[in-house]
Symmetry: C2
Subunit: 263 residues, 2 copies
Amino acid sequence: MVHDGPAPGYRRWALKIEYDGTGLVGWQRQDNGLSVQQLLEEAASKLAGDAPVMSATAGRTDAGVHASAMVVQLDLPEQDRLDARQIRDGISFHLKPHRVAVLEAAAAPQGWHARFSAIWRRYRYTILNRPTRPVLDADHVWHVRRPLDAKLMSEAGQSLLGRHDFSSFRAASCQASSPIRTLDVLDVTRQGLHLHIDVQARSFLHHQVRNLAGSLQMIGSGQWPVSKLRQVLEARDRRQAGPTAPSEGLCLVAVGYESDPFA
Amino acid sequence: MVHDGPAPGYRRWALKIEYDGTGLVGWQRQDNGLSVQQLLEEAASKLAGDAPVMSATAGRTDAGVHASAMVVQLDLPEQDRLDARQIRDGISFHLKPHRVAVLEAAAAPQGWHARFSAIWRRYRYTILNRPTRPVLDADHVWHVRRPLDAKLMSEAGQSLLGRHDFSSFRAASCQASSPIRTLDVLDVTRQGLHLHIDVQARSFLHHQVRNLAGSLQMIGSGQWPVSKLRQVLEARDRRQAGPTAPSEGLCLVAVGYESDPFA
């Protein structure tokens, strides 16, 4: 069960991080803008006396997507002998003024990998459902003017639970070897003018949550009957699904491991 | 009961507005930066063919303070014959790209005044209580690292309910003729890492809510015993109270009228 352990002379840390994806190109380093990975590695490298550091994440979020509790691994030089608190506060300090910070740090267990050891991911997709554009939560919600019925969305969502071929909800750019995924949770709830779509699975296809949100919105607004969602799933055809909901409504909220590295 | 009615040829509208106070100088027009009042009046004037428009608010919030449902009055030329929806959407459109928007608009009842007809104001002060600085809710919370006990804060807060001389919690700049106010609600609740201080009164002194939050934080962190809050109140001396909590944690959440103009 050892996947890509730390290089010789390095020690692996598990970090829980929060980030606001607005204006960033996503987790992964890219040439066209700032990524969470670049910001995190540069901050950690400053803390480690400019030594190179390596990171990997439990979920490679897209541009504009947020995380309240993403889990990443960071391999730091052993010689630094920093403790968990120094790592949390030191990296957070060097991350300023960017909207990325470390919530928790812990020495990773032997053989632990942020991505390969994760057994589930949980995302929340949030819709602001009112006539007026978002203000206090701008950049953190999808603005849908048409009134949505959360109960219909919830009912439709139940038909997607379990193990299925999710080709209809998969981005053309998805690099996963199989379109089969097992959806363990799909809850739709309303809190005032906000609708929350909470989903959990071992892993997701690229754009799967945003594509589900876009199709659920078709149900909630009455443009599609409840039964349509299951038909779209069974069609295994991306063209049958609704629009891809925008990135700003999506937030990774939790990652699960058989043994919690922060416990 | 008629206070400052609309000028001849003008019709009064009640608006419910949301704004993010970050980077603004507050409600009131000032020479040193953008105010909510200036942005709102300029947007409304554009909608009204550049005619002058006049506004007044139920609460003149300070720089950096937010509102999720502030009530304001806006006197627009009668001849424009716009309906409530056109006013809501038209002003919100002209307010772009600023983080101010109109949630509701309604023709004001005869004699109604946003400020003088209001019978209560409700504010929420929010603290993020954790070691790491705010990220997703940056600029919308007060960051307090020291662990806070919401129950102790709630208990202490009860001793301030009712009619009192609130001189100890009043800014030196306060222009109210009397320091006597009646506090109808002071609830402190914890939701995960967030603490909410909810207060309601007919009206508040300048900085009263932020000064209460600063003193409650002294109780919650154990720096003061619960009994100290009442002693501070009775001292009628600003120097006895805790620090003024920062503006970004404060949000006006509701204004009450005997007859709801939006009903």
